[in-house]
Amino acid sequence: MLRLDHLVKKFGGLTATNDVTLDFPAGTLSAIIGPNGAGKTTLFNQITGHLVPTSGKIVFAGEDITGMKPAAIVRKGIGRAFQVANIFPTMTVEEALASAVSAHAHAAFELSSAFPRRDVKTRTEELLALLGMEPVARRISGEISHGDQKLLDVGLALALDPKLLLLDEPAAGMGPEERWQMMDTVQRLWKSQNMTLIFIEHDIDLVFRTAEIIHVLRYGAVLASGQADEIRGNPEVIEAYLGSETDATEADSREEPA
Amino acid sequence: MIKTKQADLSRRKFLATTGAAGVATLASPAILRAAGSPIKIGMPTILSGRVAILGETASVGAKMAVDTFNAAGGIDGRMVELVIRDSKGKPDEAAKVTRDLLSSDGCALILNGEASGGTFAVHEVVRDTKTYCMHTISETSALTADPANRAPWVFRSARQGIHDAISGGLYASQLAKAGATRWATCSPDYAYGRDTTAEFMEFLAVFAPEVELVGETWPKIFQPDYTENITNLLNFAPDALYSCLWGGDLVAFFDQSSLYGLFDQFQTVAVNMGDVPVLEAIKNLPSGIHSGNRYHKDIPDTDANEAWNTSFRESGQLPTNWAWQTYTGAQFVLEALKETKGETGHEKLADATRGRTIDSPFGVNGTVTLREADNTLVDYAIGYGQTVSEAPHMEGFQPTGWDVIADHEADWMKRKNYL
């Protein structure tokens, strides 16, 4: 579905993305992990067109999308949610989702239909149900809980019926309980929507539990790729990341709640 | 019957703006008239900005006339009331104020104290609404000279630019004969400035064909800084300068010009210099500036003028050109009202005004007339003199005869295809 081919991004003397070659097969749920400054978000920004790679290629569904404008890339079918909830603070949850659906239904410039159009309304209700957000549907987006705002952000991306969904730390800034819930929701969405999903996360436990395939980044380069067990056993990863950042036993003990 | 502006406005305006507004106001003019209530004359004039002082004196002039009239019994005991409003010297504001005076203040006719810019706006309103109107300030010739602008129920009690141009051209031709043949102009960039300057230069050329225009510069009206215009004038190196700047603009221009020693380098004809407040506001008035008479207590040198001057000064203001013109305009309006016995229909009042001659302190022969052909004022004292730094600030006055003016005006109208 998505292939990154020898991707390089330099900011002046700093190499943020260092010759990254990765493949994300259709229908998979992958995670990108790595310590702060490993270049995870920079990678996302290149995929979505916010940054233009210094060299290398990004191929999506067989098409080279390198250097395209963000809006064009969105229309190709790549949706994205952001690290800090990126929403429409004065609109209600329902309205915001409907606006996103409307934009996807090519109604963004439509003057002939009242908002929301009937098909838009139906799709919005589906999304609300899918996200489990019916209880807060009528509330102002800027005033709902942080977790709900993050979920709404994901919902806005989902409204575009993406073939590929990029989630930048979907559980960032939440309490432990909420984090697990969020990752469950992500997994459920992925299963039900039949799409390819990539998420960034630096909490290794969440990643091990959720992702099928894991890519570890360090200093902008790929350190390791593989399934949870392979990564868990990879000495380089342990040394570079796991050992230094998390206590293995503590991580194990946290696998309990669901 | 003259109340202060505020008191005057309060009752009417309050009715107009509080809840029940509509019906009460709507019905009221008719009721009031039936009860012999005062006839209201609306007067837009400039009460703020750089020429506010002229608007103030215009208000005083109009009030003087109305007071005298009411004191003498009004129209068989019925009083006349003035409603004065600030038009801020802006055409759109003048139009708005005039409409408000007519529709919400219940004024039946307009005594317009606006300068040229606003006068054309007021003119449209009174033409549109068929309201009797006396323009008292605008000197722009086209207002009454151009048949396209005329309305039979609209009059002008002000000097007319063309009269000043003939008088000024005749006077300035003497300067030209004495060697000042290269002329430059510096006048405000709007209708009055452009028209008046063009007419002056036209008549200067009629009386002294050897005159040559070497340059012109057009400051914006109310422009704060004239430096670039002044240095431009220096570059033209003319023998003489013509300017129809007025009021605060003229004062600022003179102060700034004196820094460049402008008035030592050439003769200057500043047609609006002759207003007493302007003469007094310029801190070091250069002598020998040529100016038209605007208002002067010695022009004409009669007892009536002297007496009017004295009684005007009791208001605490200095009399100006605007003051005598508004006073005269109000006199005509009041006489006409008396003749119609207080009826304010535009045609009736106009018939009572057209061609009328009244006694006036400002007439060359003790009277002034609203000429029948074009509803404009004639026979007022007109001429040119020179400034002197001490009061009374004017000397060497040369009046221009009305026979001369009439001849040349007729020629001019032919040239303009106004006849």
Binding site: A71, S99, L111 | T25, A27, S48, F120, Y190
Partner: protein, 348 residues
């Protein structure tokens, strides 16, 4: 016809208002109220259209008066051309109105294409600069525009459909029609899918772009529609005054329009209309006591901005919402205490 459809309801409301205004014109015996309302219609369209930009799209334009003036000038200059009036005859006024609408829309489109590239303050300055440029052009082209004098000599307005614009009532009815049509257009925009897109751009332009929407086009479109409707406001004023003046494009008109919106309420659709009426009221009431209306306006602005911190209609809506909220709380607490009492009763 679906009466529940928002468009139908909006159009119906406009129609009802129009009928009411016609009735008013028929029964009202004088001129004062009708002329005052006609003037309010003109400023109403100016602020309502600006509100589409400031309130709905988050674009702070300092130069909106330019389109207001443009409408008046196109209308006036068209009708002051004798050949054109001769050619169109009784249709001159409607044609001139349509032309003013389209011409102003085109003008706004061109300026919008340039301005919409910039953000916030620079957008504001650029719109201001275009407005000033328009004023100097109007003042410079004396032989076409009459310069600082405005369009002199009156605007001929041939009778059409039995309406004579010199008559107060006829003029009022036609202006009311234009006004309601303009407001309806804006209402439909805000109710449409495009309206939702405008609000997205206002709330978060970057995220909107990330939903695949070309936000530049959104802004240009909003700017064009708002400009055209403002032009219609200029037409009303040109009909009322039978003239057009360069001051209509002045910065003071733009400034006062922005203030009127804030005064009335930035977050409610009809807020700006409340603002227009209140503004006129402040103006007229203070005139009773003093000529210093600016002082009163200044104090009112400071009060609204620094104390209320929102416009009048917003404030009223918030107040009502708060009261309703308190009422609900009351109900809850009453229910709770009742439940408690029952529990106590049961226990005893």
């Amino acid at each position: 016809m679906n009466l529940a459809h928002p468009f139908v309801r909006a159009a119906g409301l406009a129609l009802v208002c129009f009928v009411l205004l016609i009735v008013l014109a028929l029964v009202y015996p004088g001129t004062w109220l009708l002329d005052t309302l006609t003037g309010l219609f003109a400023s109403g369209l100016l602020v309502m259209s600006l509100h589409l930009l400031v309130g709905y799209t988050g674009l702070v334009s300092f130069g909106h008066a330019a389109y207001f003036a443009s409408g008046g000038y196109i209308f006036g200059m068209f009708l002051q051309t004798p050949d054109i009036v001769a050619a169109f005859g009784a249709w001159s006024v409607p044609v001139a109105t349509l032309l003013a609408l389209l011409g102003t829309g085109l003008f706004a489109l061109v300026v919008g294409l340039i301005c919409a590239r910039l953000s916030e303050i620079y957008f504001a300055f650029l719109t201001l600069a275009f407005q000033m440029l328009l004023v100097s052009v109007i003042q410079g082209l004396v032989q076409y525009t009459g310069g600082d004098q405005g369009l002199m000599g009156g605007i001929p307005r041939p009778e059409f459909l039995g309406l004579d614009m010199v008559q107060v009532k006829d003029r009022f009815v036609f202006s009311a029609f234009l006004f309601l049509a303009g407001v309806l257009v804006i209402r439909l925009v805000t109710l449409s899918s495009l309206g939702a897109t405008l609000r997205m751009v206002r709330d978060n332009e970057v995220r909107t772009a990330f939903l695949g929407v070309n936000t530049y086009r959104v802004k240009v479109l909003a700017f064009t529609i708002a400009g055209a409707v403002a032009g219609l406001g200029g037409v009303i004023l040109a009909i009322l005054t039978s003239a057009a003046y360069p001051e209509w494009a002045g910065w003071a008109v733009s400034g006062e329009a922005i203030f009127t919106i804030m005064l009335g309420g930035l977050h409610s659709f009809y807020g700006p209309l409340v603002g227009v009426v209140v503004m006129r009221f402040i103006n007229d009431v203070t005139l009773i006591y003093t000529t210093h209306t600016d002082l009163a306006k200044g104090v009112a602005i400071l009060f609204v901005v620094l104390v209320l911190r929102r416009g009048i209609l917003d404030w009223i809506i918030d107040l009502r919402a708060a009261r309703r909220g308190r009422k609900e709380d009351d109900n809850v607490s009453r229910a709770l205490s009742k439940a408690g009492k029952e529990a106590e009763d049961a226990a005893s």
